[in-house]
Symmetry: C2
Subunit: 210 residues, 2 copies
Amino acid sequence: MAKTPKIPDPTIERLALYSRPLEALIESGSPLILSEKLAELCGVSPAQVRKDLAYFGEFGVRGVGYDVRTLLKEIKHILGTDRQWALCIVGMGNLGSALVENENFRKRGYIFSAAFDSDPEKIGKEMPCGLTIEPVNRIKELVRDFHIRIGVITTPPLVAQQVANLLIDAGIRAILNFAPIRVRTTDRCTVENVDFSVKLENLAYHLGTL
Amino acid sequence: MAKTPKIPDPTIERLALYSRPLEALIESGSPLILSEKLAELCGVSPAQVRKDLAYFGEFGVRGVGYDVRTLLKEIKHILGTDRQWALCIVGMGNLGSALVENENFRKRGYIFSAAFDSDPEKIGKEMPCGLTIEPVNRIKELVRDFHIRIGVITTPPLVAQQVANLLIDAGIRAILNFAPIRVRTTDRCTVENVDFSVKLENLAYHLGTL
DNA sequence: CCTTACATGTGTATAAGTTCACAAGGCACC
DNA sequence: GGTGCCTTGTGAACTTATACACATGTAAGG
Ligand SMILES: NC(=O)c1ccc[n+]([C@@H]2O[C@H](COP(=O)([O-])OP(=O)(O)OC[C@H]3O[C@@H](n4cnc5c(N)ncnc54)[C@H](O)[C@@H]3O)[C@@H](O)[C@H]2O)c1
Ligand SMILES: NC(=O)c1ccc[n+]([C@@H]2O[C@H](COP(=O)([O-])OP(=O)(O)OC[C@H]3O[C@@H](n4cnc5c(N)ncnc54)[C@H](O)[C@@H]3O)[C@@H](O)[C@H]2O)c1
């Protein structure tokens, strides 16, 4: 692993951000990108781009810019996106189903390897993507067998904590939680919460009483 | 509107966060909450909670704590969640359909008033929630008629910018964008981008090469 | 009515992150 | 091979945000 003196957390978030336009640039064939251009595409300052990248090495050429292909490869390596990650997901309702069908995750190396639900009606059903919905009591077994390290929670909020506990108990080390509740974990397990309503409330605030 | 000397942006985001446990506390009947307890529920420091709230007034009672009901009401007022907001959404695929069916938004005062798509197969279809999918060329008309101020984008990334332009042109002042691309706006319109892959990449980074 | 206890509200200190400004270094052209 | 141009990489200044520590105000109880 690259040596990490003390990387600001926002930097990591931005690295992921930078990779999007870079992917598009490769498609379009441009071999070179300047910090200024990349900054504009991502809505940050050029200095920010350079500083973020400099934490991890010298990826550019002074007076010239960054080689798009190399840069993307480096970023992907830093983020771990050059590997594949097995995911599991719990709660195959509307949102869960939308997620497993989405191509973007697979493209970036995130593979849904198991899907769980507690509803007897749903268990055993095969989804368009080919996965079969499994009962929650098989979490431990399948997490082990498929070497799953990341879990996604798309259950109702009331059971989200309980599900998180199951996942942690099964050896999951990172959780992406979509239920609008903060799930608690041990320090062996990282959590990212995604709460759309929070985003909306942000927007509403900025709109003011207008 | 409450006078706002200069509120840190993270504060706004946390206010929305605080409201979740408060809603639960009202259900469970607890009339009082301490900054320390609320902080724990939200994973922040007690001082942070107090400072955030103090930006907007004195909502607590020294030596006692905060009245849950009052506090929630104040937060909702600050965020604008005590009003109702009409939303429209463009791109009624898997994700879009999941969003309009979700109850949480309605509960918080966000009402999907119009849904748009460009697919002739989908236009005219009625969804379980009762909305009928409209063609994109009716955006301007319906945004005006329903006084819609917030737009949600759930189209493929390639057309997201184009859709954003349509929305802005129709008078939309705030956009919640789910397509994994940064959409550009005028300063008349705020944008919040939600990118799940960024969150996953964050998690993957923290897992390291493990 | 005064004293005690206690949690809030807040000025100040600390930390974190961003921008600035320029030195360092590579490329191309002469 | 030297010269000028251009963009990166980076230490320092600045800005923003968080944590600390205590003064402030309230309620309850004697
Ligand atoms: N749908 C959205 O657009 C959206 C948006 C934001 C947040 N969310 C949140 O995501 C979560 C899921 O939303 P949804 O719309 O898919 O809800 P949903 O009701 O369609 O799906 C929930 C699923 O979880 C399953 N489930 C319930 N208890 C379970 C348990 N103990 N173990 C395993 N599975 C269990 C249910 O059987 C169901 O299939 C909710 O917390 C919701 O608030 C959804
Ligand atoms: N599904 C997910 O879980 C998920 C997760 C993260 C991000 N996203 C992003 O959200 C977006 C939608 O995802 P999805 O899974 O619902 O995709 P989808 O393909 O199921 O739906 C896209 C919809 O947009 C419509 N559309 C296409 N061009 C349009 C246009 N010009 N105007 C109006 N509508 C148009 C299509 O007809 C389709 O109904 C994508 O950008 C995707 O990357 C989805």
